[in-house]
Each structure stands twice: as C-alpha cells, then as structure tokens.
Symmetry: C2
C-alpha cells in the first residue's frame, strides 16, 4: 500500500509528464523512509539493494579513496534520484550518501527495477536521462580539475551550489543547507585554507557573504566573472 499520495510525485519535474496510473504503479513498490541529519542513506562499497528518490531535504554524495581522500561527488536535491546503481548493472554503491538535513526519501527495492522499467517506460527514460546529465557533469568536472586554477574551481563549486540549492534572500542567494569550508574544498579539490582565503577576498569585493556553515552569494554575476577568468587575463 503506498503511504504517499500521487501529488507528491506529480509536483516533481521528472514525473510531471507521467500518467496518473503510472505514478500509482511506481508508488505501489515504493516505501518512504526518514533519515535524520548526518545519517547515512547508503554506503560506498555496500551491496546495492535499493534505489531512492529524495522527497525533501538535501543529501551529500561522497566518494572516498583507498588512501582516505574524499570528494563530494554531488548534492542531491528535492525530487532527484540517487543510488541508481541497478540501472547501470552495478552490484555495489560507488559512493556514500549522507543526509545533510532531516530527509524524507522514497525507496524502491532493486527487485522492482526490471518491471518498473518495462511497465513504466517514462521512468526508465527519466533514470537514463539523469545518468546522462550526471555523466556529462562529471566529465566537465574532470576537465575543470585538469585545466583550471583553484580560484576558478572554487568559484564554480559555489555557483553549482547556488544553482542547485540557492534560495533568494535579502542579501542574495543563500545556500539552503549548512556547508563548511572543508566541504567546499572537497567539492573543488583543494584545502579548506584556500577556500577560506578566497572567501575572504570575495567578501572584501562584495561578491559573497559568509558565516559559520553558511554561504550567501551577493553578486552571482561577479562570481561568474571570476569563474570564467582564464589564466592569462
């Protein structure tokens, strides 16, 4: 029995074009669960048994190397899929997902995937489209890491945060969840020191405002200019 209403999915862009019966079919196999702040939704290396849709909250996806180095692969926002290893025939989760704030998640057992894919064709398409977008973003990031300076990378990381989780306030675009300098560093592939220094400079230039675990981008356009500044300009 679905304990969630159609309307929960109908609001989301991924499902907007789907027929009501199809959404019901999806919900039949899904069950909702709640994750408290800082709890782990799935874990890197763990056998993949489910895939997920984030209904509300924010999730951080983190990949850790054998040497213990970490990168934040992406943030998952309301309405986005995560843990869709099954769609790519992967047996284990390639990264860990952590609830940044209290999260409500819809959860399908992997066993439901084959039938959902064939019976709700729009769903398979949506999943593969998501994979394609993320794959492209990941390639962009490789290129970025290979060719751009720390300053540009951090600026881009901030702009990515803004686009995904920005909320308009009186002071500018505020990131909707708590995030530390260390975590921004793990998005951009640098150290918290560099992030802190850059934020100080940008604060003096009126581009951003910051506080403990908080970022507000007061001048998005100015920050974009920083991100696009090339080595020899």
């Amino acid at each position: 029995m679905p304990s969630l209403d159609r309307s929960v999915l109908e609001r989301l862009p991924t499902f907007r074009r789907m027929a009501g019966e199809d959404i019901d079919m999806l919900l039949k196999d899904a069950h909702p669960s709640r994750f408290s702040k800082n709890s782990e939704i799935f874990s890197q290396g763990e056998e993949a048994r489910s895939f997920f849709l984030l209904i509300s909250g924010h999730v951080r996806v983190v990949r850790t190397s054998a040497q213990g180095d970490k990168v934040i692969v992406r943030h998952i926002n309301e309405g986005e899929l995560m843990g869709i290893a099954i769609a790519m025939e992967r047996a284990v989760y390639p990264a860990s997902a952590i609830a940044i704030v209290e999260c409500l998640v819809l959860n399908w057992p992997n066993s439901a995937w084959p039938s959902l894919k064939s019976k709700v064709p729009g769903f398979g398409t949506a999943v593969y489209r998501t994979i394609g977008q993320r794959f492209q973003e990941t390639h962009d990031r490789v290129l970025e890491m290979a060719s751009e300076q720390v300053e540009q990378r951090v600026a881009r990381a901030m702009l990515r945060l803004m686009n995904e989780a920005g909320r308009q306030t009186a002071d500018g675009m505020e990131i909707d969840f708590p995030i530390t300098r260390q975590e921004i560093a793990e998005m951009a592939g640098t150290t918290l020191h560099m992030v802190s220094r850059l934020l100080s400079v940008w604060k003096d230039q009126g581009l951003v405002r910051g506080a403990r675990q908080k970022i507000v981008i007061s001048n998005p356009h100015g920050l974009m200019r920083v991100a696009e500044r090339h080595r020899d300009e």
Copy 2:
C-alpha cells in the same frame, strides 16, 4: 544485408553470451565503415545520429572546454562501444572521437536503438553496464585529480594505457598505438614538460623505455608502486 559475419561479434566479450539470432538481429541494422588515421568518427557538440562499436583499431575520445583546454576522456579499444549518447537520452555527442590508427567501426543509426534494446535484451544490458563502468572510472578520475600529485597521476595514466592497450614484447609492455607526451599530459591533467621529466626519471630507474610516440613499460610493478606512493611516504 549485413556485410559482416557473426563471428566478428562472437569473439568479443560483450557479445560472447548472446544467441546467434540476436547477433544477427544486431548486424542487420549495422553497417561497417572505415576511418583513416587521425580522422574524426564523431564530433563534440554534433547531433548524435549513430552509435558505434570499434571492431579494430584504437580511438581517442577527447573533450574540449570553451577555453580550448583538452582532456583525453578515454581510449576505446577493439570490441568496445562508443558514442552511445542515445542510451542516456543525449541529443549531442559530449566529446569527439578520433581514430588513432586506421579503424574498422560498426555503426548503428540511433533510430535502431529502441527496438534493439527491447528485442535484444542482452544488448541493452551490455550498453548500460558499459556506461556504469565508465561512470565509475570517471569518478575515480575526479578523485585522483583532486587528491593526487602529478607524478602519481601520470603513473596511473600509463598503467591505464597498459591495461587497455598493452602488448607484451621483449622489452616489456608496449602501448599498442602511437602516443605523444602531450597526449599523456592530457590524460593526466598536466603539461608535456612534466611528463617528459617524469619519463626521464623513470627511464633512469629502469621502469619505462620511451621513444618518439612510443612507450614501453619495462617494470609494471615498479610503476604501480610509484602510482600508489602517497604524499607522505
């Protein structure tokens, strides 16, 4: 009319487990084409009309940024798929593919994808498995670029080349296609100078042998130790 025999596909790991009729069905929609050395098989940003299987030769997949910086995304080897944008609902190719040597390629129009996917189920699975593997590799690379030094990254790039296109010779494992220092730099995200310097050091240590557009890894295990050496060891 397929102008290629079943046996061409049956040799490849991707198709080994498929029924003969399924392979015939695949071949029915495919047509072979030949690409001369340095010619472009598909181009970044171009509308994706086909997907490909490399029958023989070697292909370099390159992604270029707006500023003109390049990275070599991967190399495609015999029996591997490429240009499978359609499987992820992407309208354009996210990178360019260039024949490193004379190549024989099997080519399907994108219009054949939906029916092949449903009628040859093993094919869809193989495609999605390939995507999953490459996605994981790409994430590994982000992590690598974020946390490792140039020396380690170049060592890893060389080992990747060896695993994918290594050929055992008297002197060691030789990369099967011509590759310049500049190109190795584009794999590792550094400059040709750094690559050249590192190769010189490794040559003195008996790890590699090099020549113009040629790399031989004489001591793979030694090179692995270099790749795994962490910052503070």
